[in-house]
């Protein structure tokens, strides 16, 4: 037929697709098709993800604590309005993200240090930070860089916006139903030209069998989330190919280091060390992911961090069952059952890995009871000794800022949420503050290593494996996956 249509069957959709309030693994997938960022990581030309290219911003330069962003001219929103500096300033404003009662409070995390955002001309915006911040362009390639239209946003309110969002992206939302489908349509007035397909649908099909069968019958062009064990079935299937990509996100287990519940044995660091040493994480990852992802033996030493990455680094706490047993003996642990809260089915293979880990811990004399709970609320409900989470790593591209400081700092979610599992040590805060301010690359790396060392001394958790995303794609269609949960289905990335 004349209209080209692309149907993507996904295992989950999120009920809200506002760029900050609606952040979730399922909505991130759709964002870049609806919104454009000011700055974007160019994965097409530099798969390492170190290169930033202009998108809605055409230029950016820093003068001390002030960044001046120049905007692209003639960019249209889906509702026909033209994008102005006002819109961009509002997008990054205190009113929306970082003031006292912002529309999207989580924006604060991503705008730490902002003191002023102002439209200084029809197409220029100034951002002033408390300290010098070299990473503003990188941060603008994240969620806060998705530009929203001020007038429409204020008119609908955050909730309404999350249901019927308007962006400048290549596709326009026709109908969004978080528990059914997201139906998009090519945006003819897109500044970069119309996208490759006229209709783009993300369809919610929770059962894998349904997605697979739909791919076979041609109902779906792309299906997401193939169980890792089933990948070779796709590989041998006619008319479809498998696309697999490691994603800048690591699954983790948090050890609750606080005295809550009372007498929590995990307050003893020997026990925490023992727990790390009792797990043959390489074997687990190998078994569950057939070598398609890996386990970073040294926390925060992640390959996507370029200069920060040291391939030869040695782990402090390698797999060693005997050592683990010795540590258990040394600790005050008396065989209490440790409760591990896990949100069921949220991360690929997490549940399976947990079942394996529980058995491995048992070998070392540690009793862990994994409780698989239906949603985060139940998982976050105290008491628990351990908590399943995952964390992104690319808030500042090529810099370990997010996992090490954004998440673990005193204002970070792990130290401040109702379910907080640790209180940062003084030393950690001290080094961290210096690291966050540091603009000199060498100094920054030294501080990073020191900070990581302090973290490892405490060992308030364990990063497990790098997340994987996979898709099966019908022959005749291909797209370039990026190491994020997002699916860029616009020009350059999607080929028909």
């Amino acid at each position: 037929s004349d209209t080209t249509e692309l149907n993507v069957a996904v295992e989950a959709l999120w009920h809200n697709i506002a760029p900050i309030n609606g952040i979730s693994n399922a909505s991130i997938r759709i964002f870049p098709n609806i919104y454009d960022r000011l700055v974007e990581i160019d994965y097409l030309n530099d798969p390492s993800g170190q290169t930033l290219i202009p998108r809605l911003a055409t230029g950016w330069e820093r003068d001390g604590k002030v960044w001046t962003i120049t905007l692209r001219e003639g960019v249209k929103f889906h509702n026909g309005e033209t994008m102005t500096a006002e819109d961009v300033a509002f997008t990054l404003s205190a009113e929306r993200l970082w003031g006292d009662e912002p529309y999207e409070p989580r924006g604060r995390t991503y705008t730490a240090g902002f003191v002023r955002v102002e439209a200084t001309g029809p197409l220029t915006v100034e951002i002033e930070t408390a300290d010098e911040d070299i990473n503003i362009p990188g941060k603008l390639s994240g969620f806060i860089g998705y530009v929203v239209p001020k007038a429409y946003y204020l008119e609908t309110g955050v909730e309404g916006f999350g249901q019927a969002p308007v962006g400048t992206g290549p596709y326009r939302v026709v109908n969004y139903r978080g528990n059914e489908a997201a139906r998009l349509e090519a945006f003819a007035d897109h500044w970069d030209g119309a996208p490759p397909v006229e209709r783009l649908n993300f369809l919610l099909v929770p059962e894998y069998a349904g997605r697979l069968a739909g791919l076979a019958t041609g109902e779906f062009d792309i299906i997401a989330s193939i169980p890792i064990d089933q990948e070779n079935q796709i590989e041998t299937m006619e008319g479809a190919t498998l696309i697999r990509k490691q994603v800048n996100n690591y699954t983790a287990v948090l050890f609750n280091t606080r005295n809550d519940p009372e007498g929590n044995p995990l307050q003893d660091q020997n026990l925490r060390y023992a727990m790390i040493q009792a797990i043959d994480m390489d074997a687990i990852v190998q078994a569950l992911f057939s070598g398609n992802t890996f386990f970073p033996a040294v926390p925060f030493n992640f390959p996507e961090y370029g200069n920060f990455y040291d391939a030869a680094a040695k782990p402090r706490l390698p797999y060693d069952l005997e050592a683990a047993r010795a540590l258990v003996a040394k600790s005050g642990y008396k065989g209490e059952t440790l409760i591990w809260h896990i949100t069921r089915g949220f991360w690929t293979n997490y549940d399976a890995a947990a079942e394996i880990m529980v058995e491995m811990w048992r070998e070392a004399g540690i009793n862990v009871e994994a409780q698989f709970l239906d949603n985060f609320q139940l998982a976050y409900e105290r008491p628990f000794h351990m908590l399943a989470v995952s964390g992104g790593t690319s808030f500042i591209p090529g810099d370990p800022y997010q996992p090490l400081w954004l998440d673990w700092s005193p204002t970070g979610v792990i130290s401040s949420a109702s379910w907080k599992t640790w209180d940062p040590t003084e030393r950690f805060v001290e080094i961290g503050t210096a690291y966050a301010k540091s603009t000199d690359p060498d100094e920054r790396k030294a501080l990073f290593l020191e900070l990581s060392e302090e973290w490892q001394r405490v060992t308030p958790g364990q990063y497990m494996w790098k997340s994987l995303a996979n898709w099966a794609v019908r022959d005749g269609i291909s797209f370039v996956p990026v190491p994020e949960f997002e699916m860029r289905l616009h020009a350059g990335y999607l080929k028909l």
């Binding site: 059962e207 894998y208 069998a209 697979l212 169980p227 064990d229 089933q230 079935q233 074997a283 687990i284 190998q286 078994a287 069921r344 089915g345 549940d351 399976a352 079942e355 394996i356 529980v358 058995e359 994994a370 409780q371 698989f372 709970l373 239906d374 949603n375 139940l378 409900e381």
Partner: protein
């Protein structure tokens, strides 16, 4: 009692086998139900390329399906048994109470029965499990709640008719107090009918539990049930079918046997039922 048709024999045999397997099936395997073997993941069963180490194959964590099925069957049967027996006790007590007191007590009880019957039970179970979190106790409670209404309705009916039987009136005129009348006379006489209801309720509980497991709300690991094993393996149906199909088949066979047995019992007891009704 004397002429038991083949089909009833077959169901009894199936149920016995299931019971034996649940109780002693674990002995057939060298592995514990939770023991994982990451090098032997998704091994096919015997006859489909598997070997004697894992006669029924393994699941995605390399756990022995034979051991798991025995464990799962045990738990499923336990849940069904506890659920149906508790449900029967609860329902029958209320039914007896309603039939004894009549009047507003009866009206109230029967209204609660109506309310329960007017809500598809899976809605209640789903909501409660999701909102209160999953625990074995809650699950058993729910399974007992499932079907109590039919016991209540049934027992009220048969007790009412049994009560109006001349022999019950005769016993009353002898000065036997009501509780003794119910326990010594009425209960034994209506037990058959309630047992039939039990055989019908039993497979329904197994099925309900498995449906909840399918939605991720049934028995939680490391405990396991047939429904859970089956739900666990459903993503692998097109490659490692045995993980899902074997427990599915077991659920099916046990339910089938129970249904057939129940039907047969009911047919046998029906004349008795009708006599009671008159």
């Amino acid at each position: 009692m004397r002429h038991i048709p083949t089909i009833a024999w077959l169901s009894i045999a199936t149920l016995l086998c299931a019971l034996l397997f649940a109780l002693f099936g674990g002995w057939l395997s060298d592995h514990a139900a939770t023991q994982q073997n990451l090098l032997a993941r998704m091994r096919p069963p015997l006859l489909f390329g598997g070997d004697f180490e894992f006669p029924l194959g393994t699941d995605r964590l390399g756990r022995d399906l034979l051991a798991r099925m025995a464990e799962g069957l045990r738990i499923s049967l336990l849940i069904a048994l506890l659920g149906s027996v508790l449900g029967a006790l609860f329902g029958c007590t209320l039914g007896f109470v309603a039939a004894h007191f009549r009047g507003w007590v009866e009206e109230t009880i029967m209204m609660v029965v109506d309310i329960q019957a007017s809500l598809p039970f899976i809605l209640i179970a789903l909501t409660l499990l999701a909102f209160f979190g999953n625990s074995f106790g809650l699950l058993i409670f729910l399974m007992a709640m499932f079907g109590w209404d039919s016991y209540a309705r049934l027992s009220r009916g048969v007790v009412l008719s049994a009560k109006s039987q001349p022999w019950a009136e005769a016993v009353r005129t002898l000065g036997v107090p009501p509780v003794a009348l119910y326990l010594r006379h009425v209960l034994p006489n209506v037990a058959g009918i309630l047992i039939v209801q039990l055989t019908l309720n039993f497979p329904q509980i197994i099925l309900l539990e498995s449906a909840l497991s399918f939605l991720g709300l049934g028995i939680q690991p490391p405990m396991t049930s047939l429904g859970q094993i089956m739900g666990d393996g459903r993503d692998y149906l097109s490659t490692s079918w045995w993980i899902s199909v074997l427990p599915g088949l077991t659920i099916f066979l046990v339910s089938l046997a129970m249904c057939v047995l129940g039907d047969w019992l009911r047919d046998r007891l029906d004349p008795a039922l009708q006599r009671v009704r008159q």
